[in-house]
């Protein structure tokens, strides 16, 4: 009797199993870190468009906050049940997963979709690892010196093009009781931005890349030049006091209140200010220090990858193809003011600042991601601590360079 009773239950269960495995084949799991309100909305919109185009596919979108995502992705990738597609950062962080064999190449998609024609060549270097495409660049933003137009107008200042002009602007501002640069270094990376730009402007993007990859010692004389320039700014009160007490947003308040005039920051600075201030914000390229050095810019790029153990690789590749298309990219440009790599995305989707940024990038010789996106995570974390020490004791830059070198050797061994 017991068996008789069990049989229908078993039947139902096995049916359920069959059924669920059928539906599973139609489910595409996408995990992203687009957790801020605007990116969250844009990502959902993208998924909706894809589902509309592919009625038989059900996309399961899981959004996790940035920092949590960075930890969780390591667990997902090494588990047997990873997502089909996940959002990720270009540069060293992408390379890390490629080196560990945790992600799947999709060179076939790249060729089928003819992405060589659609995506600028500069991006290929961050997408390809040993002739295979692993990373689809999807959106990016630029770094620049942001400033308050009203303050510049009040003191008759122009956007500085060279280092000397920048120093002059700074002196004028200081004479009028305004701090030239706002910054909050509690989370350290804002200071790393200064290192990036000073190094690229003084020593060029090639040297910068080598340094970021740990191929040049930090004790190199050329690095000393970076610290000397930076030291001058710190010692001459170009930055707000007690910067280490503020997060980047708290540091921004000096600028929104009009106590500071400029901030070296990414395009996302606009996400953090009121509309009134936004209208008063403008930006210029980090001034040229040495005319003979090629111009490099930080251009952090976000994109998508496929885990090596993705349950539905074919579906994942189809989604990647969609993300590479005009339809799959324009939402991020239109709704968030980010730049997108696909060249066929029409210019009218960009607002005025975005077009200015685009023009700036087009006149750039080489691209970097960002200090902690280009570097090994441990080396980035520990050397950024030392940049904080430099900020406090700029005199000691020589011993700090040696300490940075010790970190490099420890990580590289």
């Amino acid at each position: 009797m017991k068996i008789k009773k069990l049989l229908p239950i078993l039947l139902v269960f096995s049916l359920l199993l069959v059924f669920s495995s059928v539906t599973m084949a139609e489910t595409l799991t996408v995990n992203t870190y687009t957790s801020d309100p605007a990116p969250r909305k844009a990502m959902k919109k993208l998924v909706d468009i894809y589902e509309e185009n592919n009625p038989d596919v059900d996309v399961q979108l899981n959004i996790t906050a940035h920092e949590d995502f960075k930890k969780a992705i390591r667990v997902w990738l090494s588990s047997d049940d990873p997502p089909d597609v996940f959002s990720w950062f270009a540069g060293n962080r992408a390379k890390y997963f490629v080196d560990k064999g945790l992600v799947m190449p999709f060179t076939d998609v790249w060729n089928e979709e003819n992405l060589d024609q659609k995506i600028p060549r500069a991006f290929k270097s961050i997408s390809f690892f040993e002739d295979e495409a692993y990373f689809l660049p999807h959106s990016y933003y630029w770094w620049a010196v942001y400033y308050r137009e009203s303050i510049f107008a009040e003191y008759g200042l122009e956007e500085p093009q060279t280092w000397e002009e920048l120093l002059e602007v700074g002196e004028t501002l200081k004479d009028n009781g305004i701090t030239p640069f706002a910054i909050g270094t509690k989370f350290k990376w804002t200071a790393a931005g200064w290192f990036d730009y000073l190094n690229m402007r003084i020593n060029g993007p090639k040297f910068h890349t080598d340094l970021m990859h740990g191929e040049v010692p930090f004790t190199d004389d050329r690095v000393a030049e970076v610290f000397k320039k930076w030291k001058y700014l710190i010692e001459n009160d170009f930055f707000v006091e007690n910067a280490a007490a503020y997060s980047w947003q708290e540091g921004l308040q000096f600028m929104t209140q009009g106590d500071a005039a400029m901030y070296l920051m990414g395009q996302f600075i606009n996400d953090a200010v009121s509309e009134d201030v936004q209208k008063d914000m403008n930006f210029f390229r980090f001034p040229i220090i040495d005319k003979d050095v090629p111009v490099g810019e930080d251009l952090p790029t976000d994109g998508f990858m496929i885990p090596a153990k993705a349950p539905n690789p074919e579906l994942a590749k189809d989604f990647i193809a969609f993300l590479a298309s005009v339809e799959g990219q324009r939402v991020f440009a239109e709704d968030m003011g980010r730049m997108v790599p696909n060249k066929d995305v029409p210019d009218e989707v960009y607002d005025k600042p975005a077009l200015k940024g685009k023009k700036m990038i087009e006149n750039t010789d080489a691209l970097a991601q960002f200090y902690d996106r280009d570097m090994d995570p441990e080396m980035a974390g520990d050397t950024m601590d030392l940049l904080m020490k430099f900020w406090q004791y700029p005199d000691q830059y020589q011993s700090i360079m040696e300490e940075m070198e010790q970190v490099r050797q420890k990580v590289m061994e």
Binding site: K186, E241, A243, A245, P377, D385, M388
Partner: protein, 289 residues
């Protein structure tokens, strides 16, 4: 015999959970501390290399020293202050209940919230502390409390002390209620001074409460993490780092799980030694009485 079996049956369920969630991971952490592991590929056994590296690691020493400074201040300030407040507020004074509630209330808040509140108090420009100092004419004392490596650690500990004092006070208050007032009254009639009453009657009778306070204070100061992580993240340049935070950054920022585990093991041993010897001494004394 039967009774024993029943006991074990009751114990079995919590024991299983305890083994899975506490003892197991602890042992696994000991094993991990002997490996190099990035959290992705398989752990690579390297013997005691992590510990050898630790002994040459200046950040490890900074964190260790900071933990002991933390412990010292915690044993001094909140314990003494808490005891003082408890005795004061156990007297029949006006508003005693209100004061008790006010002093205890920080304990209700999560440490994260307190860390944020104190970050605002320490805010160099708009903060309560610097503005008050300016207001009373002590401008020369104002500074970036959390950004200056000389003051940052003490500023963070200050926030933690604020939270802990109320807790200590409450524990002592509970201890004080268990002392029969007749005893103190009798001493008073016999002509004992206030200090004598405190030293020879209240303090010895408060011993059970004191033991709990000291153990909790030690644990709190050694496991310090939340305040550091919220207020300074161990910065500027590690001047406020403590072992628990260092373990966290090594394991989850630098992806050196093995190295982080080694820090955890050291922290575990320090805590274990302190608490083990302390509790053993207490037990011995109790038995000898």
């Amino acid at each position: 015999m039967e009774k024993r079996k029943v006991q074990w049956r009751f114990l079995a369920v919590p024991l299983i959970f305890y083994t899975i969630w506490v003892i197991g991971p602890t042992i696994y952490t000991f094993y991990l501390s002997l490996t190099e592991w990035d959290g992705l590929t398989d752990p690579n056994f390297i013997g005691i290399q992590n510990y050898l590296d630790l002994f040459n690691d200046s950040i490890f020493y900074t964190s260790l020293v900071n933990n002991f400074i933390w412990l010292l201040i915690f044993l001094l300030v909140p314990v003494v202050l808490g005891l003082f407040l408890a005795i004061l507020l156990s007297k029949k004074i006006r508003w005693a209940k209100g004061f008790k509630a006010a002093i205890y209330s920080p304990m209700i808040l999560a440490p994260v919230v307190i860390g944020l509140i104190w970050s605002w108090i320490y805010h160099p420009k708009a903060g309560l502390l610097n503005n008050t100092l300016t207001y009373v004419g002590l401008n020369f004392l104002t500074r970036g409390w959390l950004s200056n490596p000389e003051t940052a650690l003490y500023a963070v500990i200050g926030a933690a002390v604020w939270r802990h004092t109320g807790y200590v006070m409450l524990l002592f208050l509970a201890g004080l209620t268990s002392i029969p007032p007749t005893l103190i009254e009798a001493a008073r009639i016999d002509g004992a001074t206030a200090w004598q009453r405190f030293r020879y009657i209240i303090l010895p009778l408060l011993k059970p409460a004191t033991v709990i306070v000291l153990v909790i204070t030690m644990i709190q100061s050694l496991r310090a993490f939340d305040f550091v992580n919220i207020m300074t993240r161990g910065g500027p340049f590690n001047s406020t780092n403590v072992l628990a935070n260092y373990m966290y950054t090594e394991a989850f920022r630098n992806y050196e799980m093995g190295y982080g585990a080694a820090v955890a093991v050291i922290l575990f041993i320090i805590m274990f030694i302190f608490i083990f010897f302390y509790l053993r001494r207490i037990r011995e004394e109790e038995l000898s009485v």
